[in-house]
């Protein structure tokens, strides 16, 4: 069979080949290139990808090629693992380590999936893959080719998206091929993520008539005659259709060649592609066809061993039978497995089986594979395809496969559980349990809205009472993920707590989360009461995660109340207990975050940084991604406090990555407020308003430090000259804090409120605020809080002495902005008392700080103050920092550049600088933009040149 030679070159894709060649050029030049090639089945995506990968290899680039399979969509990270050769026996320890992670047991495999059972393997694997790519790229350009992305598992798609975001400046090419359909939500998300980072999208259209002529001429090795061309015109420019049609005609002896022309006797409209493929395959001997039918059950690619298992025939017999199919190019050997030359060939054979036959074959395959000890995912896939409603075997295997997949790919787990419940009879008692597990899987997957809908659907009907609380806890968590809905989350968790049906461990978990939820809604008394109860129950039950939740709630509670020593004591204990818990399970709730915030409030910024770094490292090791955004925000706050505003901005920008992956957005509220503050001080009022508006939108609830949103709004109103509104806004904010006991905010917003109240003639209000700040200061021996109290008192009494004391109190601390603002206040008071010289010195001190912070607005105001007093500055005024070029780089950015020049990877740089790899990436993105370079290679060269 098969009288045509394989088509040696691609026809009619010159523009696409050129575009892909240019992508390789970009990679060769040291930068990233991402290309998506989209087109219908048979249109030539795979050939194009194969050619570009061959070209890449020919240019000395590293190549990793993988292809997704329809029947392997449930194998987490399957495509990437195959592309990078991640097997346990790999001589490369990085690849072997990834294989070990993929094979390791997750907590979810041992029991039902719950909202807190996430062992976090998924993000560890994601990070391991991205680290591997980065390290490979540091040794030379790498091109990753991924075919048939429409079948790729969700974890692979997630990783590609993360990888694309972290590629800036690395010589990495990612070329993905996909069909227009099917299009999963995960694939849509990936396409959006790739588009956001500048991916090129190539649409493969049908071949032109000229290209088809060229293709036919190559295949028949002659000039095609008009009837032959008319015949292949029916293939509508689909090259696979054209070649299959030519193959069928050739096998039927319908093509004659004479005088350099190839022709058919008569033109007949070709049938569909599927029938054309079958027409060609039908020439194979019956035993080969039988084997192909069985093989089609296994998917587009299959091992001879699996085929032997499902057919019950010895592999040696099958290899003989399949030899004919390989010679006819129906099958190919890809080195590891046999593969149908095109997925459509497999589809044609598969779809040619009657539905009942297909189901029976799948069922038998599943049973035989199960007996042979095949992986649960593979067994489940076949049993599910062979099942009818009520098939308990299929349901059991699907649930088992879901629990196995959950730690690495909760999306897959949710999908498998969806299929399992779809097979169960509506009255099946086990159905609700699996639906509850599915809801938890959706939570893990960051599909918060889907999780909420799944929970509500369960709660909205006659649910098995023993499951109600599990579902409510899951729903509560889903609602807590988005802070504005925290009150609803609290409501669900409280209902769960009150249920008499709760088991002991469930009650402990529900109580712990309920306490945390109360904190988020601003009910400090309620949070404390619930957390004390939860802590006691959790410690007794040895529930380490619940213990951490309760203690973190108590520590944060004490912090917000302004009881810093107590807060730190609880946080220290929480970290210690988590450290001592088996497998450090207690760290699955990020207890280092409150400790980091508390230390920052103590102005112990170095310790704050260390604790945040430690927490992040543990979270990375445990794979608990959901805390990342909070860590990032804690670090942003520490940077902001220390006056390293560029770093703070980088951390806040970096924060959006993990937030997008986990669906948790608490930290964005505070982040946007801090961003707005920085922009305001830097005189970017438009940007400040944008950030503040987003922060305000998110801060509809009364969660952790949402008061900052109102504070920023008040300062923006003041900047607009709306002093009365500014005072009213800040006054309301103050009252909210007072009502709920959030005294920690007093020294933060107090000085501005005193200032605004005095300007409005509300001296009583100013005195009341100053007294409250003083009260907080009296119970915390913390310099900045003492300084804030002195500043408030000084402003109220227009007392330069007190304001000087405030300046003095701030000085040893780490709050340059507050110090500078207090210097201004002290200068104004000194000037009013005629001490122009001291006023000038204080303003000079403020201006120096503003310069360092790049706080243009404050700088201008302080300079204007100087001019009004007729005071000349003692030294030359420097200009605002450059926006581009080497002078524009921040100290952190310079440090990153130095380490890039040394050839370190982002994770290595992160370890060296005590920041996350994501923050390093953000710094690098800023550096690239400022220096107008596009690759690390260019950057290193530029750095060496700059050093001269």
């Amino acid at each position: 069979m098969g009288t045509l030679a394989p088509v040696p070159r691609i026809c009619g894709r010159e523009a696409e080949i050129q575009a892909l060649g240019e992508a390789l050029d970009r990679v060769a030049a040291g930068g990233p290139a991402i290309v998506l090639v989209e087109g219908e089945a048979g249109i030539g995506k795979t050939r194009l990808l194969t050619q570009v990968l061959r070209d890449a290899a020919g240019r000395g680039m590293g190549v990793a090629a993988g292809r997704a399979e329809e029947l392997e969509r449930t194998r987490p990270f399957g495509v990437l693992a195959a592309a990078f050769g991640c097997v346990r026996s790999s001589p490369d320890p990085r690849r072997a380590a990834i294989a070990a992670l993929l094979a390791s047991q997750g907590a979810g495999e041992l029991g039902p999936i719950t909202v807190t059972s996430d062992s976090g393997l998924r993000f560890r694997v994601v990070d391991a893959f991205t680290d591997l790519v980065e390290e490979l790229a540091l040794s030379g350009p790498v091109v990753i080719g991924l075919d048939d992305l429409q079948w790729a598992d969700p974890s692979t798609l997630l990783t590609v998206g993360v990888l694309a975001r972290r590629l800036a400046g690395l010589p990495v090419g990612v070329i993905g091929c996909l069909r227009p359909s099917p299009r999963s939500a995960e694939l849509d998300r990936l396409a959006g993520a790739l588009e956001a980072v500048g991916a090129q999208h190539i649409l493969l259209h049908p071949l032109t008539g000229e290209a088809v002529t060229g293709l036919v001429a190559q295949a028949v090795a002659a000039e095609p005659g008009p009837r032959l061309l008319a015949e292949v015109a029916g293939a509508a420019g689909n090259p696979l259709f054209v070649t299959e049609l030519l193959g069928a005609l050739a096998q039927e002896g319908a093509i004659t060649t004479a005088g350099g022309w190839a022709e058919v006797a008569e033109t007949v409209l070709p049938p569909t592609l599927r029938l054309t493929i079958l027409r060609r395959v039908s020439f194979l001997p019956e035993p080969s066809l039988q084997a192909l039918r069985s093989a089609s059950i296994l998917g587009s690619a299959f091992s001879l061993t699996d085929l032997a298992t499902v057919t019950g025939r010895p592999a040696v017999d099958l290899s003989g039978v399949l030899g004919e199919a390989m010679r006819a190019r129906v099958l190919e050997d890809d080195g590891a497995r046999l593969r149908f030359r095109h997925e459509l060939i497999r589809d044609a054979i598969y779809q040619d089986l009657a539905g009942s036959v297909r189901r029976a074959l799948h069922r038998e395959a599943g049973q035989r594979l199960a007996r042979a000890g095949a992986p649960a995912l593979q067994v489940a896939e076949h049993l599910a395809r062979g099942a009818t409603t009520g098939d308990t075997d299929a349901v059991t295997w699907l649930a088992r496969a879901a629990r196995q997949a959950a730690p690495r790919s909760p999306d897959v787990a949710a999908d498998l559980l969806d299929r399992a419940t779809g097979l169960m009879a509506p009255g099946d008692r086990g159905r609700d349990g699996l639906l509850a597990e599915r809801a938890s899987s959706l939570m893990w997957a960051g599909r918060i809205a889907d999780a909420e809908a799944a929970c509500r659907s369960l709660l909205g009907r006659d649910l098995d009472p023993s499951l109600e609380n599990t579902v409510r806890v899951c729903l509560g968590n889903a609602l807590l993920a988005g802070e504005p809905r925290a009150p609803e989350g609290l409501c669900e968790l409280e209902r769960a707590c009150q249920s008499p049906l709760l088991t002991g461990p469930e009650r402990v978990e529900a109580q712990a989360w309920a306490g945390f939820a109360r904190l988020l809604v601003g009910d400090l008394d309620g949070a404390a009461a619930a957390a004390v109860q939860a802590r006691s129950a959790a410690v007794s039950a040895r529930d380490h995660v619940a213990t951490s939740i309760a203690m973190a709630t108590l520590a944060t509670n004490a912090l917000l109340r302004g009881h810093l020593p107590e807060a730190l004591q609880i946080a220290d204990d929480a970290v210690l207990l988590a450290d001592q818990s088996p497998g450090r399970q207690g760290h699955r709730f990020p207890v280092h975050i409150p400790r980091g915030y508390i230390l920052a409030e103590f102005d112990r910024l170095d310790e704050a940084r260390t604790t945040i770094e430690t927490g992040m490292r543990i979270s990375e090791e445990l794979g608990t991604r959901w805390g990342f955004a909070h860590y990032q925000m804690a670090r942003a706050m520490e940077r902001f406090r220390a006056g390293n505003w560029d770093d703070a901005v980088a951390e806040i920008e970096t924060d959006t990555g993990p937030t997008g992956e986990t669906g948790q957005d608490h930290s964005l509220i505070l982040g946007r407020s801090v961003l707005a503050l920085i922009r305001l001080h830097r005189n970017d009022l438009l940007g400040a308003r944008d950030a503040a508006a987003l922060g305000e939108l998110s801060a509809a609830g009364a969660g952790y430090r949402t008061d900052w949103s109102a504070w920023v709004q008040a300062l923006l109103l003041e900047a607009d000259g709306e002093l009365a509104d500014a005072l009213a806004t800040l006054s309301d904010d103050w009252d909210r804090c007072a009502r709920s006991g959030r005294a920690l905010e007093y020294p933060v917003i107090g000085p501005d409120l005193v200032r605004l109240a005095l300007a409005a003639g509300e001296a009583d209000r100013a005195r009341e605020v100053a007294a409250a700040v003083t009260h907080v200061a009296s119970r915390n021996q913390v310099p900045w809080i003492t300084a804030a109290a002195l500043r408030c008192q000084g402003l109220v009494g227009d007392d330069p002495g007190l304001l000087e004391e405030a300046v003095h109190a701030y000085s040893p601390g780490s709050r340059p902005l507050e110090l500078a603002l207090t210097c201004e206040d002290a200068a104004a008071a000194a000037a009013r008392q005629g001490n122009q010289e001291r006023a000038g010195q204080l303003l000079d001190q403020a201006i120096t700080i503003y310069e360092r912070l790049d706080a243009a607005r404050d700088f201008a105001r302080a300079e204007a103050g100087l001019r009004q007093m007729g005071v000349r500055r003692g030294r030359r005024v420097t200009h605002r920092r450059e926006q581009s070029g080497w002078q524009s780089l921040t100290p952190s950015e310079r440090a990153v550049v130095d380490l890039v020049t040394e050839g370190l990877s982002n994770p290595q740089i992160g370890q060296r600088l005590y920041v996350s790899r994501r923050t390093v990436q953000t710094h690098l993105a800023h550096v690239f933009a400022k220096l107008h370079v596009t690759s690390r290679t260019q950057l290193a060269a530029e750095a060496i040149r700059h050093r001269g």
């Binding site: 002896g253 319908a254 004659t256 008569e266 007949v268 020439f283 779809q351 040619d352 089986l353």
Partner: protein, 74 residues
Amino acid sequence: MFPATRAETVGLVEIRIVLDIVEPPAGRLWAVRDPGQADHPRSEQGISFTGWLGLLRALYEATAEPGSRPSPGS
């Protein structure tokens, strides 16, 4: 689905198909050497097939072996 040229190559044979299922097809077929005959001979059971592949192969069996046909125009 076959090209009209097929009639020239297999001679005067009428194919009668009884379909039990339409898609993918399943049933039996007969090659009737005398097209005027009203019904198939009772003695003949026909060739069973399932799927398009089975139908194609049944047709080859009822007419000629694949590849043994003379090429068009010969």
